[in-house]
């Protein structure tokens, strides 16, 4: 890149902290972009340095956006940057698209450590590389001290729809299997434990990961998949309720089939949470005709991000719009749509 010493990329800035000048559009802004952002995200589209990126697409496209405001910014298993890339990549993947290009908008609070910003940017670079997407355009703004929460990141992304697959909740019919791609609740348990200084075993970490490669493989091998959705905010419970409502079917989940780590179960017991309601950042729920279940599981088990995938329940036409849990001891109860945020109980 002209004018930039790539050997020293990201470390030649003298400043240790973000100042309002970094967001004022002048020299300092350019320094920030050229010395922190460009070296990490470098690609042919970004290098054009236009007001926007000029891109080529051949198929129909999927387009999505999401904003990330997590606290703490750094946690076991990732940071806000990894979330921002993986979140948008995963949203595109869930529509049946191959993610191609993403944008990154950062709102940074005055006084934010540039070393932390660099860590976040490097993680974004790694996540984008793993997902095979290019970060093609971006923006940085700085807000006054105490007017932000360290850093907020928005990403938007476009992807190309994989031909031959049709991902839509309306495709879900009675008698289909419901498959979870792995252990549920890891991300939210990690974040909440960090946030409140709860001592948790080091094995508990966020599942934040780009799922697009797994999904692409899955859709190539089993295009008959009816629908898939990543179980982020609201957890698996929200996904199941959305699909039941949109497809007009009922769902029965078996408690003893739901994959939940011991640490996450323990965390939930202490605070009165339910794993099904905890957010994930690297898990999805998929619905498929039973005759393809084995094939779906076989493909998923080959991937690091689907190796613990399993059937957790099935759909029915008896209790339409309802998601029901068959408990370990054989009872039945509703899994309703999460209402508001999860708050810890008293004792």
């Amino acid at each position: 890149m002209p004018g930039i010493n790539m050997d020293k990329a990201g470390i030649i800035m003298d400043d240790k902290f973000i100042t309002l000048a970094h967001g004022a559009g002048g020299l300092k802004s350019r320094e920030l972009v050229e010395e922190v952002m460009l070296p990490a995200f470098d690609n042919e589209y970004l290098r054009q340095m236009h007001d926007g990126a000029k891109l080529q697409m051949t198929n129909n496209i999927a387009f999505t956006t999401d904003s990330y405001v997590v606290q703490p910014l750094f946690f076991n298993g990732g940071n806000i940057g990894k979330l921002a890339v993986c979140g948008t990549v995963n949203d595109l993947a869930m529509t049946g698209a191959v993610p191609k290009y993403i944008s990154v908008g950062m709102i940074i609070e005055e006084g934010f450590a540039i070393a932390d910003l660099q860590k976040i940017v490097m993680t974004m670079k790694e996540a984008a590389a793993e997902a095979g997407v290019h970060i093609v355009t971006g923006d940085t703004k700085v807000v006054d001290k105490n007017k932000g929460d360290g850093i907020f990141i928005n990403t938007a992304g476009v992807g190309e729809i994989i031909q031959g697959c049709d991902i839509a909740p309306q495709n879900v019919k009675a008698g289909m299997d419901v498959i979870a791609s792995g252990y549920l609740g890891d991300h939210a348990a990690t974040i909440m434990a960090c946030r409140h200084n709860l001592q948790m075993p080091g094995t508990l970490k966020s599942d934040c990961a780009p799922l697009n490669k797994l999904v692409e493989k899955l859709l190539q091998e089993v295009p008959q998949i009816a629908v898939m959705r990543d179980a982020t905010r609201g957890g698996a419970a929200a996904v199941l309720n959305e699909i039941a409502g949109q497809a007009g079917i009922g769902i029965i989940i078996d408690e003893d089939k739901i994959p939940v780590r011991k640490e996450v179960n323990g965390f939930c017991d202490i605070l009165g949470f339910e794993p099904l309601y905890l957010a994930n950042e690297g898990k999805f729920i998929t619905f498929v005709d039973k005759k393809y279940t084995e094939k779906v599981l076989a493909v998923m088990h080959q991937s690091e991000y689907g190796k613990d995938a399993c059937v957790i329940g099935e759909t029915n036409d008896k209790a339409v719009n309802e998601v029901v849990l068959r408990t370990t001891i054989g009872g039945m109860r509703i899994i309703d749509m999460p209402a508001g945020e999860q708050i810890p109980r008293i004792c």
């Binding site: 409140h196 709860l198 408690e255 003893d256 605070l271 009165g272 339910e274 008896k318 209790a319 309802e322 029901v324 849990l325 408990t327 370990t328 001891i329 054989g330 009872g331 039945m332 109860r333 509703i334 309703d336 209402a339 508001g340 708050i343 810890p344 109980r345 008293i346 004792c347």
Partner: protein, 365 residues
Amino acid sequence: MTKAEESRKAAENLLKKIDELIDRPVRFMEVCGTHTVSIFRSGIRQLLPEKVELVSGPGCPVCVTPNDYMDMAIAYAKQKDIIIATFGDMLKVPGTSSSLNAMKTAGADIRIVYSPLDALQIARDNPAKKIVFLGVGFETTAPLSAATIQAAGNENINNFFVLAAHKWTNTALEALLNDKDIKVDGFLLPGHVCVITGEEPFAFVAEKYKKPAVVAGFDALDILQAVYMLAKQVKNKEAKIENAYKRVVKAEGNIIAKQAIEAVFDKSTPSWRGLGEIPLSGMQINDKYSKYDVLKQIAVEKEVSKENPACCCGDVLKGLKKPIDCPLFKKICTPDKPAGACMVSVEGTCHAWYKYGQGRYHYGR
């Protein structure tokens, strides 16, 4: 056999034995809110034979907190120099005309903590502010509040205060037993409370009122085991206190925790939502630690408290009414916009009925 199959088998076994023992309709009350949640979560109510009814008692700390207390907390939250530190589930509890959540939205500094010790840390970190910790809960949370007040004393921290409303569960149980309207054939005693208090404070249930009672653990099989033991006492016309949670509950309780409560709190006579005033059922901060009693140290004006007359929380807490008997249930009162405290806490009876679909899921009872 997998672990799940073993559990299912054990549950079937207990359910069968309960069915064989009981030959008339009986009502057992689970006193503790955590039991209520576990019972709903595991679907026990639908698995028990029709003749065995489980009713929820007054053991959800949020639910028994009256409007008066919330109004006081809200009055403190309005003060510019005060930070309120509270357990999360108090945020949504409605007071007479507002809630802490509404105050937070309006700009009050209200912080969720997991322990009163976190509140003390907020006090250390914010010397220019006054920190008011909302000390609610039963014998389980009271020792922590007490220990925190003692720690504040040892460190001579002057900007930490407690709005204390801790309560003794056994007194509520006695109030219920004195109420002629309430028909209960036996009690599942609160396992966590008994960890602190031991079994002795509940001895009156069997001795004075001749009702069977079993200290119960919290997973589905623990609870079924306790119901089975109650059924056996009913069948044998016995009334004794049994412990089905021996792996955790010691007969003498936790002596250090009890000493902490004694060192900091005197007995008081507070009001319980739905149950009214119960003599010597509360814990107020004693004279030695009165500098931490916010009621004695910071005077504020609060609005005149009124309860919503249509809300049936009181009767629900006493097991006299089911949530579906309340005209507000599911119509005006939902977890999103609770009218009464029993809908706020995840451990509240109305919340559990709503959330777990009791009366909603047509495969269930």
